[in-house]
């Protein structure tokens, strides 16, 4: 029991601190934005330290809580990523919350609870644990999407997100129950053993298909992506930033763990499914993004496309594939948070900063910020020397080595297409004059700026010196116990 608790300590700590933040928010009302925000960031940092300590005190191969929970390198990597994401989002939201005078306590607590859910998902090796972790994350995110109640669009986004999310959870559960019915187990290792030893019946295959549908829904892959643009556009931008990275990375953690871990014996049955979905996702995400004038919608389609790239790594499989997905998630997280941070900076007046035209002439007025956005756009497009290039390079290399050349061809072509809409923003910023009577200006949002700075630096550093990060991801994926 003691070892169990040590392995679970980061989650326990974060959940407890989230409750503390909730209560502190209740006690202090609306006024103490700075205090509560600092508390939340400190809590996330403390959880990071705890994670480090717990990882040191735990055998990565050991199973806890009746074999349902592990703290292997894979889980540690993702947990660190989630904590980083949550901390960045908290900092990103600070100015927004303060400017719009929303209560910070519940907001911060919900972000932290969502993080607990994601961490549980990354560590779960039992479908029941993974599912409840998913629900914790999803429920918190639904509420966050509707948290800013004075935004009309945000109501619609929250309602859509909730209804479709609940439906995808239903599909997922259907799949889980069929798999449980066919194999009699929820434990991933046992599942792999049972599936390997006997020819799977039709119910197991239907279950896997439904499970794949549910997971594709959660990572927003075509053809289950329809909710994404509306939700990303409608939700308040800090939450959009969160949704586009945190839950997506968590969904990938779950996807890798379940499909490469538990369902590996059925790979022949699902790999084409996921492969086709990956190709469609890349194609549709990038093509649809071309026509968007709203930057948040464009970034939504871009995030769909990026899910497609990451799926390529999943299809490639093997340590190289897993490791490239891990690395890609890190790259994608810092880049996307930076990009959305920039959108937040522009949102001084209602929905200003959402159309591409609002970006005209920004380079002259705000050169530093524009340079940051340039970096993020290049990174999303996959241009060296940014992190995005390295991420894609390793993904595609893994896929080529695994023999999925056609998929990589699609991916590279689509990356080229994506440059059009990423560079369109750059073009607006650097080459166009603002023709509106009221040019969009940046609001004073010191913490948002700092987050953008940090993300920008990270994008450059990872792009120029990828070795230590790759090594970290490789060490993580190598001992995943997935293969």
């Amino acid at each position: 029991m003691r070892a169990d608790l040590i392995a679970l300590l980061p989650e326990l700590m974060l959940a407890t601190l989230a409750m503390a933040v909730l209560l502190a928010g209740l006690a202090s009302g609306k006024a103490r934005h700075g205090l509560l925000g600092a508390g939340a960031v400190l809590a996330l940092a403390a959880t990071g330290v705890t994670l480090w300590l717990a990882a040191g005190a735990t055998d990565p191969g050991a199973h806890f809580f009746s074999g349902m929970f592990v703290l292997d390198h894979f889980a540690i990597f993702f947990k660190a990523l989630f904590l980083l994401t949550a901390a960045l989002v908290v900092l990103l939201s600070h100015d927004y919350l303060k400017r719009n005078d929303y209560r910070p306590g519940e907001y911060l607590a919900l972000v932290m609870f969502a993080t607990v859910g994601m961490m549980t998902m990354a560590s779960g090796v039992n479908l029941a644990v993974i599912y409840v972790g998913l629900e914790l994350m999803a429920l918190s995110t639904y509420i966050l999407a509707g948290y800013f109640r004075r935004e009309v669009k945000s109501h619609e986004a929250a309602a859509k997100y909730f209804v479709l999310g609940a439906m995808s959870s239903g599909i997922l559960l259907y799949g889980l129950s069929l798999i449980y019915g066919a194999t009699g187990t929820l434990d991933l290792a046992t599942l792999a053993r049972v599936l390997a030893s006997a020819k799977p019946g039709p119910s197991a295959l239907v279950g896997v298909a439904l499970l794949a549908c549910g997971f594709l829904f959660k990572v927003a892959a075509v053809p289950f992506h329809v909710w994404t643009p509306d939700v990303y556009e409608g939700a308040p931008t800090p939450i959009t930033a969160f949704m586009s990275v945190g839950p997506k990375a968590a969904a990938f953690a779950m996807f890798l763990r379940v499909f490469i871990g538990g369902l590996a014996p059925l790979a022949a049955s699902w790999i084409w499914l996921v492969g086709v979905a990956a190709a469609l996702t890349m194609i549709w995400g990038n093509v649809a993004a071309l026509t968007q004038d709203n930057v948040k919608r464009m970034l939504a389609y871009s995030s769909i496309a990026h899910a497609g790239y990451a799926l390529v790594g999943l299809v490639a499989g093997g340590p190289a594939g897993v490791n490239s997905v891990l690395f890609y998630m890190l790259v994608y997280t810092v880049t996307n948070i930076g990009a959305f941070g920039f959108v937040i900076l522009l949102e001084s007046r209602g929905y200003a900063g959402e159309t591409v035209a609002d970006y005209a002439g920004l380079a002259r007025r705000h050169p530093a910020a524009a340079f940051g956005m340039l970096l993020f756009m290049l990174s999303l497009g996959g241009i060296p020397p940014t992190a995005g290039f390295m991420g894609k390079l390793y993904l595609f290399a893994a896929a080529v080595n695994a023999g999925y050349v056609w998929l990589v061809v699609v991916a590279v072509l689509m990356s080229a297409v994506s440059l059009y809409y990423y560079l369109r923003i750059v073009l607006q910023m650097y080459l166009r004059e603002g023709d509106g009577a009221e040019p969009a200006t940046l609001v004073a949002a010191p913490w948002t700026e700092r987050v953008i700075w940090a993300c920008g630096v990270a994008v450059l550093v990872i792009g120029l010196l990828p070795a230590p990060f790759l090594a970290a991801a490789r060490a993580m994926a190598g001992a995943v116990g997935l293969l």
Binding site: K30, M68, E106, R150
Partner: protein, 184 residues
């Protein structure tokens, strides 16, 4: 007479099953939402009876306590507050739902099929050891307790946080947003 005693369980089962099915049909057939809610209540109670028949008394009690005593009361509460006496007919809407209904029905049939197949011996036993703890057979309630608090402790605890979040969400969504007026 002895026939009655021998087949007592079956007689009870089929009566309960008939009530449960009739209630389920009633839920969609009744025009008045209150009548629909009441027939759902009938289904819940009949299902609880089936649980008792399968010696899952704990589940039966929880079924009645949670679904009949809690969930349905809230349903009724809402129905009465909004005064929805009758649901209008919407044939177009219903027609559009037909493919979805067929698909879901097929899925459900698959699920039930797997269930029956598993119950008739096809399922690899994994929970069979559940009822035996320390070599002694357990009562139903104890077995559920052991399973929840020992084997499934972690998901159980995570679910409690999920419920906490749901509560926070309900309060956040339901609270009057002070400050600047708006669409809330």
């Amino acid at each position: 007479m002895t026939w009655f005693l021998v087949h007592f369980a079956e007689i009870v089962f089929y009566s309960l099953a008939a009530v449960a099915l009739a209630g389920a049909v009633g839920v969609i057939a009744f025009r008045s939402p209150v009548h629909a809610a009441l027939s759902l209540l009938g289904t819940f109670l009949a299902v609880a009876g089936v649980f008792v028949l399968m010696q899952a008394e704990f589940l039966a009690a929880v079924q009645v306590l949670v679904y009949a005593g809690g969930v349905m009361v809230l349903f009724l509460f809402v129905i009465m507050l909004v005064k929805a006496r009758d649901i209008p007919d919407e044939p177009q809407y219903v027609r559009r739902l037909v493919p979805a209904a067929v698909g879901l029905g097929a899925l459900l049939a698959a699920l039930v099929g797997v269930g029956i197949w598993a119950a008739s011996g096809g399922l690899p036993a994994d929970g069979a050891a559940l009822r035996m703890v320390a070599g002694a057979p357990l009562g139903n309630t104890e077995a559920v307790g052991w399973s929840l608090y020992r084997d499934y402790l972690l998901p159980f605890e995570v679910v409690s946080i999920v419920l906490l979040v749901a509560m926070i969400g309900a309060i956040v969504m339901g609270r009057k947003e002070s400050g600047r007026g708006g669409a809330a």
